[in-house]
């Protein structure tokens, strides 16, 4: 189901609990009362043949309303990449954007970050499982990058605690982009535009040691590794700017928050019923909580552990191990976050437990309808398949000593359709239409930059 067409209907004055403006006229108040009465569907007579059915608003309980309101407001305040002093800096964002689309960064020069995180596919690739350089098959599905700065952990196993460290992993992984720090430094140093932007950001040339006192990174680090980390932080700065827009659900949620029944009743009835299931009997919002529709943590939902014969994906259990073994986490010398900063608490206190085996990140459900296939292994081709998974859950596949949260929902056909209708309302219509901002070439004077910007 598509989100309802956007219609601007003048809002009734005095909507908040019946308060009205002092200058409101009596005939206007009478008209408003009649319109409100009609919008609530209490007029008795049904719609005329062929007319649109009157808008309705379910009688959400106080608990349901509280649960619904907890999924907003949207957008939240902008978030910067953790431990990344370049995040938020326009020069770094511009460099990161160019690097994101540059296939030369991969070892064989064929695959850019955007090769898997395609803007026209809401920064996913549409495949069940990702493909690395030379079509190398990978074990997991490519996650969307929309709203990534609002996540706590990165990767389906959460092996990265920042966007910049998350960018380093595929660059160096021989199965993904198959590059190395030397290769990345050479590509940037060999391109006048990239090298110029790198100098603007880092204050020194790529592949060279920075001047004394310009950096706090390890003294023994090779210049190429310094270049790699600056490039990764620029990539993190760019990805942190990707924040999706408001959705039909957000408009409904805000209408509920201000007690605007007229605006709230424009939300499709099927989506309202699906939302009631989501926060109620389905208990979906236990994990898919907050404005992101994710608690940012990990869960075992009964998907088989084997990624191919004889090979098991340990999920979060392996992710914490990789995080702690990483040279680039938030407690490492490469991080710009002070050791007592709030953003490093997660890395300092996270603990690996046996139950983490087979747990994968609870994904955000924003734009979920436009980012199939689904789940960490891409095993569910569409939302119907995901909902059926939860409806007919195989409890024998859950960890014997794991969480006791999930149970088969046993949904009927209408409930499946309602949940799906609700999930479709979490789509930002612009999620697949990101376009690259144009900017002047690096090193242009102010006048030339202004001309380029106005083109």
């Amino acid at each position: 189901m598509s989100p309802p067409p956007s219609r601007r209907v003048p809002e009734a004055p005095g909507r908040c609990g019946g308060l009205r403006s002092a200058g409101e006229s009596r005939p206007r108040r009478a008209l408003v009362a009649v319109l409100a009465w009609l919008s609530l569907g209490v007029a008795g007579a049904g719609p005329a043949p062929g007319a649109q059915a009157p808008a309705t608003l379910l009688d959400f309980t106080a608990d349901e309303r509280r649960a619904i309101l907890a999924h907003g407001p949207w957008p939240p305040p902008a978030q910067r990449d953790a431990g990344n002093s370049l995040s938020g800096r326009p020069a770094a964002i511009a460099l990161g954007q160019r690097l994101f689309f540059d296939a030369r960064l991969s070892g064989d020069g064929t695959l850019s970050c955007a090769g898997c995180h395609r803007p026209d596919l809401a920064f996913t690739d549409g495949r069940a499982r990702a493909q690395g350089v030379a079509g190398h098959p990978l074990d997991r599905h490519t996650p969307s990058l929309w709203n990534a700065a609002h996540e706590r952990w990165y990767g389906w196993d959460g092996a990265s605690d920042s966007l910049w460290s998350f960018a380093i992993r595929p660059l160096l992984d021989p199965r993904e982009m198959g590059a190395g720090a030397d290769h990345v430094a050479r590509v940037i140093a060999g391109d006048a535009e990239l090298a110029c932007r790198f100098r603007q950001v880092a204050g020194h040339a790529p592949g060279q040691a920075p001047p004394p006192g310009r950096t706090s990174v390890p003294a023994e680090a090779l210049p190429a590794e310094r270049t790699l980390v600056v490039a990764a932080k620029a990539l993190g700065a760019f990805v942190a700017t990707l924040r999706s827009g408001r959705t039909a659900f957000d408009r409904f949620r805000d209408a509920l928050a201000r007690d605007d029944r007229r605006a709230a009743s424009r939300y499709p009835p099927a989506a309202q019923r699906g939302l009631r299931l989501f926060v109620g009997r389905g208990a979906c919002s236990t994990c898919h909580s907050g404005p992101m529709f994710s608690n940012g943590e990990f869960a075992d939902i009964g998907v088989p552990f084997f990624v191919r014969p004889g090979v098991v994906d340990p999920g979060r259990h392996g992710g914490i191990q990789r995080l702690q073994a990483s040279d680039h986490h938030l407690l490492s010398p490469w991080s710009d976050a002070p050791p007592d900063a709030a953003e490093v608490l997660k890395t300092r206190h996270v603990v690996r437990q046996h139950r983490n085996f087979g747990e994968f990140k609870v994904p955000s459900l924003r734009n979920v309808a436009v980012t199939p296939p689904h789940l960490h292994d891409g095993s569910k081709p569409d939302l119907d398949a995901v909902i059926r998974h939860y409806s007919e859950l195989d409890l024998d596949r859950l960890h014997a000593d794991g969480e006791r949260i999930l149970k088969p929902l046993r949904l009927d056909a209408r409930e499946v359709a309602d949940l799906k209708a609700f999930l479709h309302t979490l789509t930002d219509p612009g999620a697949g239409r990101w376009s690259m901002p144009r900017g002047p070439a690096c090193g242009l004077g102010a006048a030339a930059a202004a001309r380029a910007a106005s083109r």
Binding site: S289, G296, K346, H349, V351, Q353, R355, E403
Partner: protein, 166 residues
Amino acid sequence: MARVLGALLAVVPAMAAAASAAAARPVATGASAPEAAARRSGIARADAPPSCSQPRGTPGRWMPEAQGWRAVIVPRPAPIPVGRHFALEVALCPPAGAPPPATLKVDADMPAHRHGMNYRPQAVPQGGGRFRVDGLMFHMPGYWRLMLEVETADGPRRLEQPVEVR
């Protein structure tokens, strides 16, 4: 209705006079400025640190008890948000004659879900039986059980506090 309003209006000045008299009373020496202010006003401010002198029912703090031990706990921030790190300020109150504890262990679980937290909190002693506990996170809404364990000369003592998070 008018009679009720009249009665209320009569009570308010009396309450104000009582508060004024309480404010004029001397306070115990050694109390911190926020504590002293709280005592003067007859209530504990929600942002005041926990203290063993605070009576049961003091707003903004939990006070679990077990085997003669009591804890006064203030969450930061309050109320505890779902899915975000929070801290605790804890004052541990030993039975009469027992020394204040040097260490404290803190954990939490969701009994109905059969899981604990994904993070291991750390309690740092602040002196005088007070601790600052960092690194907690309740990653789901619902009923959590907060557990404090104190090592005593007679073995471990465990205090539990139910917490409903929404």
